[in-house]
Symmetry: C2
Subunit: 363 residues, 2 copies
């Protein structure tokens, strides 16, 4: 009496779980989807059965039956390649476990108008929500457009999110403060700073963290040499050259991201300065560049993949809530960063042993 079923070999279904728990499939479904109106004891036995059978719902069936939440958009614009790769990995992981497809689109333009137009591409495909990694998370044009369309969005690493929007970030201020603290503890007192792009809120947070750490040590932040950078390697070359060319050359330089830190190291080498012997250089982000320069960069690592995962979770949860008509729960999630100490930082050279720099070779 073989079952003429087309069912794939041995995969456990919701029915199996229902039978094991002594309830109906519907109740199991409710338990899985955080449904209301399930008695606590019933829920427990269902959860137990799920664990016992190692059941995981079939995403295809789920989205077919529910008829929604199958596509999440991801709009990116030239972040560093390392960042994007990490981000995609995290996003993909979250998307898979939620049974959702990722629809990714590139947004090359810097123009606000064109950026806004891009969002319309999502309108034609059946995307239900959008994830915005930096730097797009700062784009007012895109956020406004998405708002008009009524399309839910989650931003990542946006400095000052609007109160009722979804956002995931790390504490840039605390991280920068911690890194500065580390340099101070090594003995550095003349620390130079390369600021990030002024339009990114994170830039200001990082600079504030730097300043406050100095203040805590009794150093006047305004006396610390700071140069404006724009997160690009190129801007790092210029800022780095200015800082290292000063008569009172800093013994350490804190760049607001790895690209600018790498550029600063390159400048130092051209000036025949040893890193970290003559000058310590630290960055921020821990992108792939951090380990492909020599010496490898001391930097702050953002949990990029985890942030992407968190972003998707937040968004999917919000979508569910919208359908259910329930109020929103979390609007922001702050993940923890980590310091990564590598070879580009060390104690300052004892006074008197400081080397003289020569002027850098013209590129």
């Amino acid at each position: 009496m073989a079952k003429p079923s087309r069912r794939r070999r041995g995969v456990t279904t919701i029915e199996d779980v229902a039978r094991a728990a002594g309830v109906s499939a519907m109740t199991v479904s409710r338990v899985i989807n955080h449904g209301k109106n399930v008695r606590e004891s019933t829920r427990a036995s269902v959860v137990e059965a799920i664990k016992q059978l190692n059941y995981s719902p079939n995403t295809a069936a789920r989205s077919l039956a529910a008829g929604h939440a199958t596509h999440i958009g991801l709009l990116y614009a030239n972040p560093s390649a390392g960042y994007l790769a990490q981000f995609l990995i995290g996003a993909l992981h979250a998307a898979r476990s939620a049974g959702v497809h990722l629809v990714i689109e590139a947004c090359e333009s810097e123009e606000a108008e064109e950026q806004a137009g891009i969002t319309r591409r999502f309108a034609t495909s059946d995307v239900e929500g959008v994830v915005l990694p930096p730097p797009l998370s700062e784009s007012q044009a895109i956020l406004a457009e998405l708002d008009v369309m009524g399309m839910p969005a989650v931003t990542v690493a946006m400095g000052t999110p609007r109160p009722d929007s979804l956002n995931v970030r790390i504490d840039d201020y605390a991280a920068a403060k911690e890194m500065t603290r580390y340099l101070l503890d090594l003995g550095h007192r003349r620390i130079g700073f390369i600021k990030g792009h002024p339009r990114h809120i994170a830039s200001h947070d990082r600079y504030r963290g730097f300043c406050d750490a100095l203040s805590d040590e009794g150093i006047d932040p305004t006396s610390a040499p700071a140069e404006q950078g724009y997160f690009s390697y190129r801007s790092g070359l210029i800022a780095g050259e200015r800082l290292l060319g000063r008569p009172d050359r800093p013994t350490a330089i804190f760049a607001s991201n790895d690209d600018m830190a790498a550029a600063t190291i390159s400048i130092a080498h051209r000036m025949e300065l040893d890193v970290p012997q003559d000058v310590s250089v630290v960055g921020f982000d821990d992108t792939a560049l951090a380990t492909s320069v020599w010496p490898e960069l001391t930097t702050v690592k953002q949990p990029i993949a985890e942030m992407a995962e968190a972003a998707l979770e937040l968004l999917i949860d919000d979508l569910r809530r919208r359908r259910a008509g329930t109020a929103r729960k979390f609007t922001e999630r702050v993940l923890s960063h980590a310091m990564v100490i590598r070879e580009s930082s060390g104690p300052p050279a004892p006074p008197g042993e400081a080397r003289k720099a020569r002027s850098p070779a013209r590129g």
Copy 2:
């Protein structure tokens, strides 16, 4: 007489197409898929109806009904971040249009044994096939393991694929030859070469292309200075320093990838050589690094995203064929590359105007 249907508003289904074409849904399904046993005239009218209604099948329903092909594995190991990001974008695009989920796993180890173990992770999830971008596409350990498991795999950029395996690549030989041709046309006669990792077949293809281009010009390839590199920035520093330190310094250097080309530029700058004035430097791959160094690199662009797409298409097609018991069709696909001329290359300096290099500063 409203339809109490849960159907989402206005999405066209296979039934709509069937009605429009005057056939049954089943026939439409056949046309969409493999499509044996459909009269040519019938097929035409169905195709017409599909186009008319702008129909695209619901992937969730499809994989639910078919009960398979919902997860494709992607195993990667530290390629350059730029490569990975591009690759993921392409893979994701193909996965979405095929209605398949991507399951990505990192393989950090260089050890053959551990590499083999990784594949077992896919066994537990219901992955039906695996995509292997470089450098894993060259790993015999992984390929053997996958073979034992009977898991179909498609390799990307593998030099010498086994005859009946699936592979996607570009013509490294032709690309290297073309790039060398370009340097020759600029007027260069003393061209140095930095080889890639000897265990990658692509390295040898690129070197062969270089040699053959020289031969065609009547230059003895063995007289051209060549240094062994390993695709890393570090190895490029060493090889670059050797080449530029020669008494008969080359007027152009062709590095087998962008990382080594970037390293060579860095060395040139430390020797106070101008690029491209004193020496042209060209790379291969067009990774993000190519545009983040100064001057920006002339290089060969691989259509990475397209290669990923092609890989998935090949794999999914093969999966279908296996189920249908049909013989395999394509086993290899060669995509076309493109030369990207930027600022790191130019004509050689007229004889007599050549600058003298100073020895590079110790790092």
